[in-house]
């Protein structure tokens, strides 16, 4: 696809410098300091003493669209929790909008991994969006206060309408959300996450359970919003293809390790093979879609992951930084790594 060609093949070594320059030249939401929206330095995460991934170096600037990729169960959602401050990073440094994660509040819009709303749920979409604006306030919105807090209320109404228009949901926002289709619900929920004008939008598999046309259109919507609203997007995805044209950066998580950079740098045969320590091939279909092939199909064994946690530790950072292309090797034994298989695009592969 043309979007892929448009991004220059930046040398990895100069990439950090480029990001720095970018940060200086760009000021998001005028008036704010030009700090990176998300900054991870050698971050790793562990759950119950088990290291999931490690050595993540990532800088997300305003308006950038970043995908978090990786096999199932590698801890992509855990990265979301780390960014939200729900789970502390096991090692390394994590800054969100220049602060400790979890302190940015309304400046972060969050869309969790989702089951769709029950079909019998009779709450209007617009009310669900509205909850994103003032759902954490006590009491109920009183119609009587229109006279007193009139302007505030009108502003809130206008903002809700504006954001619904932005995601193109005006036609069905007044219908019960249970009666909306999966794609329509997803758009309304994106509106809910955007309603407070956040500077960072964290989306956990928003394309999951959508059909192909809806995946494409919701991906296009997110890509458009990240540019037009100057909001940085960190999106967990199991398939990179629907969002590939809009991506500025990807983070590929692997057992114990991680790779980050532009899609052209990371989603390559060479990088992924090094990351997963097993021959992996990245193929490009005629329409520009990427297909990741390789590794045996064997599922990951839990005992293997515990072994990884036991072997894994800190103090590999020096090692990690030395590795070129910012690929960090998992401390995995080759046998264990061979059990893993990058889940980049197998869904598309099957189609």
């Amino acid at each position: 696809m043309t979007a892929v060609d448009a991004v220059d093949a930046v040398n990895t070594d100069s990439e950090a410098a480029a990001a720095l320059l970018d940060g200086e030249s760009r000021v998001c939401n005028a008036g704010n300091e030009p700090v990176a929206v998300v900054e991870l330095r050698g971050a790793s995460a562990s759950v119950a003493g088990r290291t999931l991934w490690g050595g993540v170096d990532l800088t997300v600037e305003c308006g950038e669209f970043v995908a978090v990729l990786g096999p199932n169960g590698v801890g992509k959602s855990t990265l979301v929790k780390v960014l939200l401050g729900v789970l502390p990073a096991a090692a390394g440094e994590v800054r969100v909008l220049g602060h400790r994660p979890g302190t940015a509040g309304a400046q972060i819009g969050y869309l969790p991994q989702r089951r769709s709303f029950d079909a019998s749920l009779r709450i209007r979409g617009i009310d669900v969006v509205r909850l994103g604006l003032d759902g954490d306030r006590w009491g109920i919105p009183l119609p009587g206060t229109r006279r007193f807090g009139g302007t505030k209320r009108r502003e809130a109404d206008a903002r809700v309408r504006e954001v619904i228009e932005l995601v193109g949901a005006s036609a069905y926002a007044h219908r019960a959300i249970g009666e909306c289709s999966g794609g329509e619900q997803q758009r309304l929920l994106i509106a809910q996450a955007l309603v407070r004008k956040p500077r960072l939008l964290v989306l956990d598999e928003p394309l999951d359970s959508l059909d192909l046309p809806n995946q494409a259109s919701v991906a296009a919507l997110i890509g458009r919003i990240s540019r037009s609203e100057d909001v940085a997007v960190v999106m967990v995805a199991h398939d990179v293809n629907p969002i590939l044209p809009y991506l500025d950066r990807v983070v590929y998580l692997a057992d114990g390790g991680a790779a980050s950079g532009t899609p052209e740098e990371v989603i390559t045969t060479e990088t992924l093979s090094k990351l997963f320590r097993t021959p992996v091939e990245v193929l490009r279909a005629s329409d520009g879609r990427l297909v990741v092939v390789g590794g045996p199909e064997a599922p990951v064994m839990h005992s293997d992951r515990h072994a990884g946690a036991l072997v894994g530790g800190d103090g590999r950072d020096a090692d990690r930084r030395a590795t070129d292309r910012r690929v960090t090797d998992g401390r995995a034994s080759d046998r264990r790594a061979a059990d893993r298989r990058p889940a980049g695009s197998e869904a598309d592969d099957a189609r």
Binding site: L84, V86, G105, I108, Y110, L111, P112, F117, D118, L121, R122, I123, R124, D127, V128, L131, G132, D134, G135, D136, R137, W138, G139, I140, P141, G168, A171, Y172, R175, A176, G183, Q192, A193, P213, N214, A216, S217, A219, A220, L221, P242, P245
Partner: protein, 303 residues
């Protein structure tokens, strides 16, 4: 009006108003949170609590409130994230009901001579016409208190109900809200047991809320409507019971509630049918209906 000249009728209307309002408000969120089963379990608990109080010779209401609120919190603690789950409820309430039978035996063997033989029947089927002046006032104030508390937590509770993860990320105390809500359900259940009885209170909890959710899709309007419907149904039921001498109030109240719910369902069903017929008629000109679609299609093509 001769109906209001009877003190027992006035007390019933007074207490019934508080009870119905609490049930309607609590029921609205029980239906939204798919926790109606919790209300059912708590009604069984109310039976046991009341009989325990009778067996030990203390005020019946103390037993009612202690039991329902304690078990409501217990259910929340056992279930995940402040929401009681079905298996837990199933187990707890079968055991609790067994306990109720045990207290019943205790009561009938020890205190059957006390002249309060109909107490068991009252616990099961309610005795709203037997409310005293002070009981009616207490019921009214507790009802007002439950509604006020629920209105205060309504917005965050709705957020937590629809979107637990997002609400939690926004700093809404999801778990605490779940417990507070269950405690309110416990209080409403205990109150309602006095009016319509442990076996029938579910009708007063579920029917007005279900009706409100059928009639409106605006959440706060729905909450108000559920309260209004419950109170209206309580008044209508009491009036019916007054004018039809053989009709027990518990029956007339739940019958009115059920009839209104059925009417609302029929109304929606017929509205749906009419809408379906209308859209089928306009389907001949599809360009007019599918205004929203082309956006999505355009995006699809460009990718």
């Amino acid at each position: 009006m001769s109906m209001f000249s009877h003190p027992f009728m006035v007390y019933a209307l007074l207490g019934g108003t508080g009870i119905a309002a609490a049930c309607g408000a609590v029921g609205f969120f029980l239906v939204l949170r798919a926790q109606v089963f919790t209300g059912d379990a708590l009604s069984h608990v109310a039976f046991t609590g009341a009989l325990a109080a009778l067996a030990f010779g203390i005020d019946l209401r103390v037993g009612l409130f202690a039991a329902t609120i304690a078990v409501a919190l217990l259910l929340g603690a056992l279930g995940r994230r402040g929401r009681a789950d079905d298996v837990v409820i199933g187990n707890v309430f079968a055991w609790i009901l067994g306990l109720g039978v045990f207290f019943l035996t205790l009561y009938t063997t020890n205190r059957s001579g006390s002249g309060n033989g109909s107490a068991t029947i009252n616990v099961l089927f309610g005795s709203i016409l037997g409310l005293s002046s002070s009981q009616a006032q207490t019921a009214l104030w507790i009802g007002v208190g439950v509604v006020a508390a629920l209105v205060f937590i309504a917005r965050p509770l709705l957020f937590a109900t629809l979107d637990e993860a997002v609400a939690a990320a926004r700093g809404v105390p999801v778990r605490v809200l779940g417990f507070v809500f269950l405690a309110l359900v416990g209080a409403a259940t205990a109150e309602a047991t006095q009016a319509v009885g442990a076996l029938l209170l579910l009708g007063l909890v579920a029917a007005p809320a279900g009706t409100a959710l059928v009639l409106t899709d605006r959440p706060f309007r729905g909450l108000g409507l559920a309260v209004a419907l419950a109170v209206g149904e309580m008044w209508a039921g009491l009036t019916l019971a007054y004018f039809v001498p053989r009709m027990p109030p518990s029956f007339s109240i739940t019958a009115v509630a059920t009839a209104v719910y059925a009417a609302a369902m029929i109304y929606r069903w017929s509205a749906r049918r009419r809408a379906a017929v209308r859209s089928a008629a306009t389907a001949v000109a599809p360009a007019h209906i599918r205004v929203a679609e082309p956006v999505a299609t355009a995006d699809t093509v460009s990718v």
